[in-house]
Assembly symmetry: C2
Homo-oligomer: 714 residues x 2
Amino acid sequence: MTNNAKIISINDLKSNDPSYLETIFSIANGHLGVRASNPVNISDTAGTIVNGFFEISEIVYGEKAFGYAKNNQTIVKLPDLRQIKICDGQQNVFHRSELKAESLDMNNGVLVSTYKLTNDLGKSVELTVKSALQQANNQVIGLRYEIKPIDYTGRIKIVKHLKAISDGEETDDPRKSRTVHTLTYEKHDVNSKSEIVKITTQISKMYLEMAIYTPAALEQKFELTDGKTINFDVIGLVGEINEPVEFTDMPTFEEVIKGSSEFWEEFWKNSEIKITGDDSLNQAIHYNLFQLTSSTGRDGKTNIPAKGLSGTGYEGHYFWDTEMYMSPFFAYTNPQIAQKLIKYRYSILEASKKRARELGVAKGALFAWRTINGQEASAYYPAGTAQYHIDADIAYAIDRYYKVTDDKQFLENYGFEIVLETARFWKNFGSFSEIHGKRKFCFFDVTGPDEYTAIVNNNYYTNRMAKFNMGFAVDLIDEFPEKARELGVTDQERNELANISESVYLPYDQIKGINQQDDSAFEKPIWPFDTTPKDNYPLLLHYHPLMIYRYQVNKQADTLLADFLFDDLSKEQYLREYDYYEKITTHDSSLSRSIFSAIAARIDLKTKAYDYFMDTVKTDLVDLQKNTADGLHVANLGGSWLTVVNGFGGLQVKDGLLTIDNHLPDEWKKLTLRLQYLGRLLQITYTNKTTQIEVLTGASIKIRVDGTVKMIQA
Amino acid sequence: MTNNAKIISINDLKSNDPSYLETIFSIANGHLGVRASNPVNISDTAGTIVNGFFEISEIVYGEKAFGYAKNNQTIVKLPDLRQIKICDGQQNVFHRSELKAESLDMNNGVLVSTYKLTNDLGKSVELTVKSALQQANNQVIGLRYEIKPIDYTGRIKIVKHLKAISDGEETDDPRKSRTVHTLTYEKHDVNSKSEIVKITTQISKMYLEMAIYTPAALEQKFELTDGKTINFDVIGLVGEINEPVEFTDMPTFEEVIKGSSEFWEEFWKNSEIKITGDDSLNQAIHYNLFQLTSSTGRDGKTNIPAKGLSGTGYEGHYFWDTEMYMSPFFAYTNPQIAQKLIKYRYSILEASKKRARELGVAKGALFAWRTINGQEASAYYPAGTAQYHIDADIAYAIDRYYKVTDDKQFLENYGFEIVLETARFWKNFGSFSEIHGKRKFCFFDVTGPDEYTAIVNNNYYTNRMAKFNMGFAVDLIDEFPEKARELGVTDQERNELANISESVYLPYDQIKGINQQDDSAFEKPIWPFDTTPKDNYPLLLHYHPLMIYRYQVNKQADTLLADFLFDDLSKEQYLREYDYYEKITTHDSSLSRSIFSAIAARIDLKTKAYDYFMDTVKTDLVDLQKNTADGLHVANLGGSWLTVVNGFGGLQVKDGLLTIDNHLPDEWKKLTLRLQYLGRLLQITYTNKTTQIEVLTGASIKIRVDGTVKMIQA
């Protein structure tokens, strides 16, 4: 089977479950997302999602306590823009439908879905819906409905309106979204060619306008004859939050396609990645980057929801996933987007300072574990607020952005303040204790990335990241002394930060010779893997948290994630740590396998690297976690890029030098990738024998390639 | 001021807040409790409470997880039995009321409340309500209403019915109760002299019948004249749960008083405690024992709600408070009640086995942290289910009962099985780890008694108690081999239990020379007491749990409670531990001061012992925690007895001998107490110079008195 790298079609997929396909073929542009639902037979899971448009409801606790997150923020499902009604001349609706073909072209962003529609008289027509989103002016969707006879000819009536959609069922699965019952819909400026619906959230008091427009009429009759195709074009608008939509300069369907094509052409020019030797993988990685980019807010006010804009899972919240799994791709291929993602964090910095106070920390900022508007929305603090590491994750992303772009202006105006306030948090949150006779800075009662281990002391990842965060703050204080004064930094504070950063305790097991997940990690018994039925994974759905926590069992990479980020181990230690932690990791989180793959690649565990990558890159395309129907695992989309580029491609910035090590899998003939670095567009080509670098645009540059520093000529 | 030891009146109290007085003057008989609310002007906090009569509602979680407690069990507020309506001849209701006097006579259990009632014409009468509960047939309440003129004479109409009462307001305070909206009321057998109301809980499907009966008529007219008092007697019935009430052999008011008097007379004969030298303390301790006994279910199907039957706080649930704070009093004064309290635990043993399975523990039973029907109702597992120590607390209470009564039959038929199943739980819940080079049995992710420290490893109290529990199980296996076989005990299991009990890890700090609360307790920084405003106590209402947990700060005695129970420290270590833990304890729990006082007495910290006792014994009488309005702190009522008897009185059973050490406070001239031991009724008299023991009934017995074993002659 050959796959087209940039076209994904239903034939490439193993499942044809309708809500799974709705997710896989969803299209988005950072602002709005449209699930690929059946347009004549709207499902419970259908709908449009607008990044950052949420309703509020009070979080109800079995037992409340001081400082708990107060409100749910739930992303709202809005009318399905592709919905349509088609009848024959006698008002017999073609309401039975069967998906015949569907494909998404990643060259131009066009989704083509073809259905056989049948009415109660048993007569059928074929409907093809072509959908594309404008990426530059991201309020616009272009829709073309093409109708052809199958065994019905004659009068056809098309009715196109915007309709409120079903709430769906309530669920207990914490990964899904709650339902919202507090929306009001109000239509205005309705005429034969267009209509606007204003949707207001009653509690959060936001509104959004959606509109449709057609050059002819929204209710229209056609004569369907053999050999002829009826075309019906609709342009949809989805306004900015709290702003009215306007019908000015409405593009044609063709113009939308053109705009979309131009965007994706430019995108691939900067982000191209090509795996030669496995078409299926090559297609999957393209799909991942396409969907990741589609999912990403680019306005500095929004971010990347945990399911992108492909579903309402996790309520449309932003997590640390952005900084650790997704923004790396943008930093290296489209730094403007990476910058916007940081600006979003800057926009919620004040809310994060308030949150730190609620946690009893006198200075600094604590970013919400899950949020849209900056306020904490996690209703379970042991695997929410206690994941303080999000603060350092954000600082790390700022450092990465800075290293790749050298954007001093942005650092001075935005990045520095975030790094400083998060560093201040760590300083005021932690405390000195005597550990093995030495005065060490410790963090108590924290949860690391691994959510199967909660409320522990000195989580290695957290401590390592906090150490980095404070050290980075000191670097920036020294680099931007004037700004530092403006931010109230004194010499004393600088020196304290430097000293504390030096003193952070990093648990290490002398006998095992590995970094230790937390103070008591290795004392606990190992999870009874042998007697755990396969159906009992993910464990969180089958065991009480107290059961999970008292064993050595990891949901995902934790200490290994720190290893991945700092890459400061000897190969021997790397191998020991990998071996130890792999045995206790279930990969019940989609954030796990990409890191296991990337590290395995670095330390030449070739089979493991490849096997984990196969699962990573296709998590959604093969529905590995069995919940892609709820939305894409967008962190993992980014994770698969991390694996290829930082793992197999061995790319990182070390000591101010771009560093590339060739760890190409034996299965591949060649890997080509493009990325930006300090203003250059680079193309790197790996084969089993060679690593070649070209400067496509920009000046010559020194790069460390497979251990040797070379000047790559422009 | 002189206080009558066994009469408490409004003049003895500092507050006259109506809902506070409702609690203080509440009367109960283990089955039903009646708050002393204003009978003509029913408050939101008024009502009758029936032990074990609860409604169910689903616990709503912000984020649910596997194995969480499913349902709230909420004790129900039932019609106020004392409520009455009094009008003049023109139907002007005397609805304004002022409490003029109130007193509770602990000699006979009679509550007398006197009100000035005024109607809208400004005319007044005096109403005195006398209330007493039958203690033997505990369905019965006797009520006498006495009406005298103040400036109104003439026609008076009395209307007496049972009415549903107000729900009260919803609250976030976890110590209060939620409101129940799912009751149905149905009156039947209504006639001029009596009526029955059947109250059904819609979800838990329980019913209860309440009835009132008067020899004359429930609506009656009288002529009020100067110098004359109108008497109106009512007998109330509150049936057993799910059983109808019957109007047979209805007693007169005088007969109720007589029955009540006989009960309390017998009670004081066996339980008398007399502090000579401080009338106020002497009164307080009498009050405490009176209310504790009133609060206690005596039928083997109910237990002691955390607020007794004096209020709906903590939803009427039973906690470990019973075994650790309240049942000691009964074991030593009325062992039949102590036995019934254990029988209640036996009645929920099957539910507790199921709960252990839900927690992933293959064998044994885990008792619910808070419950009425045996199912876990704690919606916050870090300070609920994680307090596994309740299992061992119950085993400890069984051991105490056995030591005091030598009731082999009960042990064989009931106690043994509980001890075995809890021991089995510990064995399957814990695990061996290497600690300081030795193979030790550990318990991970547990919470000890101190709720300001949660989800820790090897909590000293928990480990110590688990060790005891397993050791006790081995003793009983050896003592009752036949029963052991019946319960499926093999030699291997017995030996494993013995071996594990021996191997339990008990954290000890070599440098500090004290038992260590848990593995990481002393690494954490000490709570910033100096900068904590007084108004910020109790901390739980002012700080996020994560803030509280990451400091050394105790809500209540934890390691010290183990010390209190096992009394196995040298005096030097006792002093060090006391000094250390006292400094970090806020006593935000009412379970704390009694233990601090008792230990201080034992180790001759006389001032501390006395000061803590003053607060302990009067917790409710001075409204120390400012929430007595919600109900009595019944655990502390029992705690004050512990302090006197086990602390000042130095009483414990050691090596099979009753052991008494005189630690009489200097402030007291004499302490006299009565108790039962191995079938004898003993009276012990302490003065500053002597300790005298009399055997009032039963045979001579050997007792260790102030270090010397003596034969006390009958």
